[in-house]
Assembly symmetry: C2
Homo-oligomer: 126 residues x 2
Amino acid sequence: MAPDEVVNRFIAALEALDVDAAMAFVSDDISYENVPIQPIAGRDAVAQTLHGFLAPATAVEWRVLEQWTVVRTVINERIDRFQIGDGWLELPVAGFFRVDDHDRIALWRDYFDMGSYVQQLTALTA
Amino acid sequence: MAPDEVVNRFIAALEALDVDAAMAFVSDDISYENVPIQPIAGRDAVAQTLHGFLAPATAVEWRVLEQWTVVRTVINERIDRFQIGDGWLELPVAGFFRVDDHDRIALWRDYFDMGSYVQQLTALTA
C-alpha cells in the first residue's frame, strides 16, 4: 500500500469513529506526538487516547487541505472538525506521518494550537 | 535558486537579526500566516511584524530538524530559539513555504502552540 493510502485509510477510520479499525494502520510501537504535550507510546496507549479524544464527538470530519508524500513520510495540512453538542470544533493541524516498511504508521506528529482546541471544547461543552 | 535554498537563506537572515536582508527573499504580496492568528499580508507588514517579533531577542537560532521540498513547496519541522534576557525561548514549529517563480516566498505558514510561546515569553521577560 502506498504511504499516503495508509494515512488516508487511517483518517477515514477515525472519521468513522472506529478506533479499532484505525489501529490496524499503526505499528505496535507507534509514537503519537501532539507537539504541545508528551508523546504517547505504543498502540494500546494511542487507542486509549483516541477513544477519550473522540468520546465527546458525535461526528468527525478531517478535511485534508493538502497532502505531500516524500518517500515514506506523509505530511498534511488539515482542518480537524468534531461535532460536539450543537456545534463544530474546528482545529487547523499540520500532520507528519512516518510509514514503516510494513505499511504501518510508526510516527504521527501533529502541530496545532492547544488554546484553540481547549477554548472551543470548553464553549461547546458548557 | 532552488526553493529550499531560498528558505535556508531567509532563515539565515532572520538568525542574523537582519530583517531587511530576509525581506529580499519574500514577494511583495507575501502572506505570512501564524495559524492561531490573522494572516499578515504584504512585505511591509511582514517586515514590521518581524521587527517586533525579534525585538526582545539578543540572539536567534532556528534549528531545522528536517526539511522536505516538493516542487516549489518547502516544509520543515523546526525548533525556533530566541535568547531573551538570561534564557532561551524554544518553540517547536511546522513551517510551510511556497516559493514563486521569481524565487521569492509568496506564502509562509507556521503551525505552533501559542500558549507555549506566550508562557515562555512571559517567564523570560518577568
